[in-house]
């Protein structure tokens, strides 16, 4: 099967379908095929290296660069056209958010958006004070519908804006940082750009990320402001004097399934776990986690891995405890409730760690 390629020139490889597919998608099977080939025909190794490089370069160079303004311009036009259509038919937007994140790893956005320039009337006060300080003119989206709407930002990041919430942002993110201002609640999915941090001002909290997804809940009438992380890492800091901050500011770091809550009354910022921590490993990995009469520490370690959390327990004390269980789609706390009940133990969450309080088993 190798003979065909024995006499190939660089140009032949560059045009070969199987070769291109290998360079672009590198399936393990193909890796094996080509490394076997090189072992059999070591003289072709350099040809292959060069051809690989050319295919990679061609892939890059043949792409016409895209103007991001076109991306948002077309979408806004579609939006207005569709909003009209939506009004005419009275169609209601339904959202099944999780399903689509899972199915296509796409963050989706919706069309029912009202674009407005910031108006001073009816604006929440804290929010108004924050946006006053913005350097560039801001674009504002207000969700006056009874459901969630989606907003696509100039950098391709998406925001699911909940009802009665508003979001302002720099029209084309020309500054050193991508700054947005939120009043209310929203889920953010931020496009990666290490050069330009993405910063959300929401009441007394500032959230800074490079590229990730997270939820912020910041209604002014509520006593708490919370940020919870779905993927990636974010840093969160207090902003009690409601100023804009410099880029190097450091805050507490949150990882998936963690949240930070700012309490207005005593101005404290506390890290904890989100209400329902989600599994962070793949379903496949999860399926392997079945335990038959297994030591409790093994089970806790598996839980730590599955939910990306830290569980603190006395290993020596609990090593004699054994359980038979499998990890399914339950939330972490449901699972812990079951385990603790079986062992007459209890747990509490302290600073995003889970502390287990149990007794020795015989």
């Amino acid at each position: 099967m190798f003979e065909k390629y024995a006499g190939y020139s660089v140009e032949d490889f560059v045009k070969d379908e199987k070769f291109i597919a290998w360079v672009k998608f590198s399936h393990p099977e193909e890796d094996l095929f080509w490394s076997d080939f090189i072992q059999n025909y070591p003289g072709q190794q350099e040809t292959i290296i060069h051809a690989r490089q050319i295919v990679t370069h061609l892939s890059e160079a043949s792409r016409m660069p895209v103007d991001q303004n076109d991306v948002s311009e077309i979408w806004s036009k579609l939006e207005s056209a569709l909003a009209e259509e939506g009004e005419n038919t009275g169609r209601v937007l339904t959202i099944n958010w999780k399903k689509w994140v899972a199915a296509a790893s796409v963050i989706l956005l919706s069309a029912l958006i009202w674009w407005n320039y910031p108006s001073t009337s009816d604006q929440p006060q804290v929010y108004a004070r924050l946006i006053e300080q913005a350097e560039n003119p801001l674009k504002e989206v207000i969700n006056t519908t009874s459901g969630t709407i989606s907003v696509i930002l100039p950098d391709g990041s998406t925001v699911k804006l909940e009802k009665a919430s508003r979001l302002s942002y720099d029209r084309d993110f020309t500054g050193k940082q991508r700054e947005v201002f939120l009043s209310g609640a929203a889920f953010f999915n931020v496009t990666k750009n290490p050069e330009k941090p993405f910063i959300v001002y929401a009441n007394e909290l500032v959230t800074k990320v490079l590229g990730t997804s997270f939820t912020i809940n910041a209604f002014e009438e509520n006593k708490k402001v919370t940020v919870s992380v779905r993927t990636g890492r974010v840093s969160v800091f207090k902003n009690t004097d409601l100023t804009r901050l410099d880029a190097d500011h450091k805050g507490i770091i949150l990882i998936p399934n963690q949240q930070a809550a700012f309490t207005k009354e005593d101005e404290t910022l506390v890290r904890s776990l989100v209400e329902a921590p989600q599994v962070v490993v793949s379903q496949q990995e999860l399926r392997d986690l079945t335990f038959t009469n297994a030591p409790l520490p093994d089970i806790f370690e598996a839980l730590e891995k599955a939910y990306g959390v830290e569980i603190v327990f006395d290993k020596a004390l609990l090593s004699n405890c054994r359980l038979t269980t499998s990890l399914g789609n339950e939330t972490l706390f449901e699972r812990l409730d079951i385990i603790c009940e079986a062992l007459e133990a209890s747990y509490k969450v302290v600073d995003a760690q889970i502390m287990i309080d149990g007794k020795k088993c015989n």
Binding site: K15, V66, A81
Partner: protein, 196 residues
């Protein structure tokens, strides 16, 4: 390009009127479509209008659309047909290729600054220029093949050519790139590799 199950799901949800799915399709493919559009014609307004028409048409006629297991292929073909139709009936003077590139290249060089390896960036830049000197159809076939990862069969279908014509077009494009690199006499990896 292999079809994926999630494409079928996304497409079907969109056909059932799910705006989230519709917007997701836009988000997923808009950049590829714009990039391809810029390649097919230099008239930027016509590209934008064509894409907007296409997506509007998709939403309004979603219930009558056929199934597809490759949304990307479906969109590329629909966009190409639409652009060609619009070119025929348009009486606007086409924007020149140069002015388009000027508009775009500024953003692009910013992107490239982020890349760590300067020399590789330069090489790609040179290759880019060489590609832009090919005939429109050659440019198109190179982008479809090497950037968009369409199979030869899909390209035949898209460009309305038979298998041999696509192969010839690709062959001529690659040879021409090699020649332009040789003539310029660049003393870099790329030439040595092409002439080996």
């Amino acid at each position: 390009m292999k079809a994926t199950g999630s494409d079928v799901l996304l497409w079907n949800a969109f056909r059932e009127g799910n705006r989230e799915a519709y917007a997701g399709i836009y988000k997923l493919y808009i950049e590829d479509l714009l990039s391809y559009g810029y390649r097919v014609t230099s008239n930027r307004q016509l590209i934008k209008d064509s894409i907007q028409d296409l997506f509007l048409h998709l939403w309004l006629h979603r219930e009558n659309l056929s199934e597809t297991d490759s949304i990307k292929f479906y969109l590329f073909r629909a966009l190409r047909n639409r652009i060609l139709r619009n070119i025929e009936k348009s009486d606007i003077l086409p924007q020149t290729a140069d002015s388009i590139l000027e508009n775009i290249i500024e953003d692009f060089s910013f992107e490239q600054e982020l890349m760590a390896q300067e020399t590789e960036v330069q090489q790609i830049g040179r290759l880019q220029k060489a590609i832009n000197k090919l005939s429109k159809r050659q440019q198109e076939v190179i982008q479809l093949r090497y950037h968009n990862d369409f199979s030869l069969e899909e390209i035949e279908n898209l460009m309305q050519l038979n298998n041999q014509s696509v192969r010839n077009l690709l062959h001529r494009a690659i040879s021409q790139l090699r020649i332009s690199f040789e003539m310029a006499g660049w003393f870099l990896l790329l030439i040595t590799s092409f002439t080996r």
